[in-house]
């Protein structure tokens, strides 16, 4: 029997990781209207880079930094050819690009890639905390989340963030006002990719194991649902969405333990509900639970 404290810590660790993913998607989709449906690829890149670096002996922070750097680089490389595409084409292209990345992770056999994945990824500060490690790791994750949250909030309330919103509202008008829309979109995607890479690193060091089938398109869709449900264009909404979806997933698992439901059913139920939430919120409450906050600039 797992102690209640570790159970909650475990849950909140995932909330933190997915909250970070949600914020990263928020910058791209909620604020800049970039239809990034390949989010899982940056998450995977971050996880793998961090895993490979630390398994070869580098410290955790190097892994984390490497994850953010390489994921951000991938974001830049993908941005260059695709950000001029129409939104639906961007969505399709990002899914395709993400799948290509996953196929590489699956089919290449060198450098630790391949279907067997990477095991025994070192956990930071593992010996130090002993039995209360789950709580300690949760704190690490949340420290990272809060740091990125503060960064995002600062960005969003800045002139840079204002231009991202303007791009979301009307690209053509923004361009006509003298802003290099492509450059801003690229920065938005690179930023989001860095964050997703960080989330990936935190994930890899928590589960201590990564393999390609942990990074399917389904993960991207669940992050989108978290953002839509919690509140698009609201970072707290993204975290709320992560919390709600995690809570739901946990409760179905608990249900499975209490009532005799086969494992498969619980998984199916989870995705059916996620799909339903996506559709229902888009239909009845597209701004999500929290919605975007109005910017009131107090006149001098």
């Amino acid at each position: 029997m797992v102690s209640l404290v570790s159970y909650i810590a475990d849950t909140m660790t995932y909330v933190g990781i997915f909250g970070l993913l949600g914020i990263s998607l928020n910058i791209e989709a909620g604020y800049t209207r970039l239809m990034n449906f390949g989010k899982v690829a940056f998450f995977a890149v971050g996880a793998y880079v961090s895993a490979l670096l630390t398994v070869s002996g580098a410290p955790f922070l190097a892994g984390l930094a490497g994850a953010m750097l390489v994921a951000g680089l991938f974001g830049f490389l993908i941005a260059l050819p695709t950000l001029k595409l129409r939104e639906d084409y961007l969505a399709i292209t990002t899914i395709a690009a993400a799948e290509i990345i996953r196929l590489v992770l699956l089919n290449e056999r060198s450098y630790g890639l391949g279907p067997m994945g990477i095991r025994d990824i070192p956990r930071p500060l593992f010996g130090v905390f002993g039995a209360s490690y789950p709580v300690a790791y949760m704190a690490i994750v949340w420290a990272c989340l809060i740091a990125w949250l503060l960064v995002s909030q600062r960005i969003i309330s800045s002139p840079f963030g204002r231009i991202l919103k303007a791009i979301r509202e009307d690209e053509v008008a923004t361009e006509a006002l003298g802003k290099d829309v492509f450059a801003f979109k690229t920065k938005s995607l690179v930023l989001g990719s860095c964050m997703a890479g960080a989330a990936g690193s935190l994930f890899a060091h928590y589960t201590s194991f990564v393999s390609p089938d942990m990074f399917m398109p389904l993960l991207t869709f669940s992050v989108w649902t978290m953002m839509i449900v919690g509140g698009t264009a609201n970072n707290y909404g993204a975290i709320l969405g992560a919390l709600l979806i995690q809570a739901f997933e946990r409760s179905t698992r608990i249900l499975k333990d209490l009532v005799d439901i086969p494992t498969g059913a619980q998984v199916n139920l989870r995705w059916i509900v996620i799909g339903l939430l996506m559709v229902i919120f888009l239909m009845y409450k597209p701004q999500g639970i929290l919605g975007e906050r109005k910017v009131r600039v107090t006149p001098p």
Binding site: R86, D88, L218, A265, I272, M278
Partner: protein
């Protein structure tokens, strides 16, 4: 080489059947319908029921798959997409909703039938084709695939050019606004587009299931390739789609051979369609036969 040609024709036939509905809905409603993948799966899986009830007639299974998938398509329009449009949702929201809908349908299928591979109970024969010095093998299911594709595509062509409903569909595809102004009941035509498109995808699903196996992800497996076909052929262009389907089929099968020659894993096969997709979007988004630029 003959085997590659045969395989290409088979892959192309599958893509042709699946992509017709996708391209029409994309053109008329202007959104990429990700739940189209589940029409493929729906047709295939209901085929199991028909297989059980009606025995080993592939034809009956195909008809059953067509009808059921068509119904699912119409259901998706009436329950999800039409209400969303009535609420003023933009195309991009329809696309995102279709992803959610796809999740729902796929996991309902998985709940009912389970995640494991399933097969139809059919008697299949193996044929050997000999042309000149070359030989290729095909199963009876393969033969049905080729024949059905040719037949169905021809039927759809006749339908689109000779019947009133077909012409109304083409008019709606060109411009829903103008079509409506000319007195066409666009909403009703749309229902038929969904039924026909999803139904054909369902037949594609049955044939693919009969040729390989059934698994809940089977629709999703073909979806990105179908998008490649739709965009390559020019969104909404029926003839372009058919042409693109066979081009992609050939590219994939040839690509597999090249992968083997380059000692790369054939697990990269799906990547061929993805690469084609990305290249098309970057180089010529309107496709080979598309008319307007976006």
């Amino acid at each position: 080489m003959l085997q590659i040609t045969v395989n290409s024709a088979l892959t192309g036939s599958l893509y042709a059947l699946v992509s017709i509905g996708l391209t029409l809905v994309y053109r008329i409603l202007k959104f990429a319908n990700f739940s189209h993948a589940e029409m493929v799966a729906s047709g295939a899986y209901i085929g199991l029921v028909f297989n059980h009830i009606a025995g080993q007639s592939l034809l009956i299974i195909m008809v059953g798959g067509f009808a059921f998938a068509g119904a699912v398509g119409v259901g998706s329009e009436l329950l999800v997409f039409r209400p969303l449009r009535r609420r003023g949702a933009e195309a991009i929201s329809l696309m995102v909703a279709s992803i959610g809908l796809g999740l729902i349908i796929r996991h309902c299928i998985q709940q009912v039938w389970g995640p494991q591979f399933l097969w139809y109970n059919l008697k299949t024969k193996l044929y050997v084709l000999k042309i000149g010095g070359a030989r290729a093998t095909l199963t009876s299911v393969n033969v049905v695939m080729l024949v059905s594709a040719v037949l169905l595509v021809s039927l759809v062509h006749i339908f689109l050019t000779k019947t009133r409903l077909g012409k109304a569909m083409r008019a709606t595809s060109d411009s829903p606004v103008l079509a409506s102004a000319c007195g066409i009941d666009v909403d009703r035509v749309l229902i038929w587009v969904w039924f026909l498109g999803a139904g054909l995808a369902g037949i594609g699903g049955v044939l693919r299931g009969a040729d390989t196996r059934l698994v809940p992800q089977m629709g999703w497996e073909t979806l990105l390739s179908s998008f490649a076909v739709v965009i390559l052929g020019g969104i909404g262009n029926f003839y372009g789609t058919i042409l693109a389907a066979y081009i992609l089929g050939f590219a994939e099968n040839l690509g597999v051979v090249m992968l083997q020659n380059l000692s790369l894993s054939t697990g990269y096969r799906p990547a061929i369609a993805f690469v084609v997709l990305i290249v098309i979007l970057l180089v010529r988004p309107r496709g080979i036969m598309g008319s307007e630029r976006d």
